[in-house]
Symmetry: C2
Subunit: 157 residues, 2 copies
C-alpha cells in the first residue's frame, strides 16, 4: 500500500464539471478522530466502505501519510454511529482531464454550497492540465479539510 | 465479527499465574484516539498486528462496542509512529482456568509494577472459576483502561 498521499485542492467556479464526469457516488463519512495529527475516517462511498487514517501534511501542505483499508459496509455503518458529531454528506464526481482524474465533491447538508476539486499527483512537482471550471488553489487552507468541515460546517463560515 | 465485548478486570496478587500460562507474548500498543467514546488502538502482539476501535462501556462497565481487524506488521509499525505519546509496553500471559481463559498483562516501562487480569465472558451474568492469584475486581475503574494508562502512567499515580 502506498502510504504517502500527494494532492492539490481547488475551488470550483461552476458546475460544468458535472457533464464531464464519468462517475458519481454518494459519500457519507465521519471521524473517529478529527485531530489533524491523526485523523481516523469512516467512509461509505456508493457500495463500498473504507477506514482511513491520515497524518499531518508536510510544509507544502501537499503530502500526507495515508493508510486505508476497505471494510464491510455493515461494519462501516456501525462505526459511523460511533463517530464524532458532524457526518459529512457529499456527492463525488470523477472527471478525467488529460492524464489525471479530478475528484470533485459537492457538499450537502450543513456544508451545502461548497464544491471542492482534488487532484492526486505522483510527486509535488508533477504538472497537470487545468480545466476551465477550476478555481483558486486552496491546498494549504486547512478549513477545506473534511475533518475541519465536520466540526465547522460551511454554513457557519 | 462479534461487535460487543463483555469482560471483567482484576488486580493480580502475585506472579504464580506465570507458571500456569500456556502462552506469553510481547505487546506494544498506541492510541490514534484515547477519547473514551471512541478509542482507536494500534497493537503489535508477537508476530501479529491489529487495529481496534472501541466505544464507551455500558452502565455496568462490562460491555463495550469493539471492532478489530488484523493488519500487516509493517503497516502497524508506521501507524504506531502516528499515535499519541505513551506507547504501552507489556507482556501478556494467557492462562486457562476451568472453561475460561484469563489474559494477564504485566506492564513495563512507565507502567512497571502494574499487573492486570482480564476475562472475557459470553454474558454479563456468566459465572467463572477464580484462581488463587486473582485479586480485587477493577472492572469499573477507568484508571485501568490502557487508553488511560497511556496518558497517565502508573508510576505517576
Amino acid at each position: 500500500m502506498k502510504m504517502i498521499e500527494i494532492e492539490k485542492k481547488f475551488m470550483v467556479l461552476n458546475d460544468s464539471f458535472k457533464a464531464a464526469a464519468f462517475t458519481q457516488n454518494h459519500i457519507a463519512q465521519g471521524y473517529l478522530s478529527s485531530v489533524p495529527e491523526r485523523t481516523v475516517r469512516v467512509r461509505i462511498k456508493g457500495e463500498k466502505s473504507y477506514l482511513t487514517i491520515k497524518g499531518l501534511t508536510n510544509d507544502t501542505g501537499m503530502s500526507r501519510f495515508e493508510w486505508e483499508k476497505e471494510i464491510p459496509v455493515n461494519e462501516a455503518k456501525k462505526l459511523l454511529l460511533l463517530c464524532e458529531k458532524g457526518i459529512i454528506d457529499k456527492t463525488r464526481f470523477e472527471i478525467k482531464v488529460g492524464n489525471h482524474i479530478f475528484e470533485v465533491d459537492e457538499f450537502h447538508g450543513e456544508n451545502q454550497g461548497l464544491i471542492i476539486a482534488e487532484i492526486e499527483l505522483d510527486s509535488e512537482t508533477e504538472t497537470f492540465e487545468k480545466p476551465n471550471w477550476l478555481g483558486a488553489e486552496v491546498t494549504n487552507d486547512k478549513r477545506y479539510y473534511n475533518s475541519y468541515l465536520s466540526n465547522h460546517p460551511y454554513k457557519n463560515w
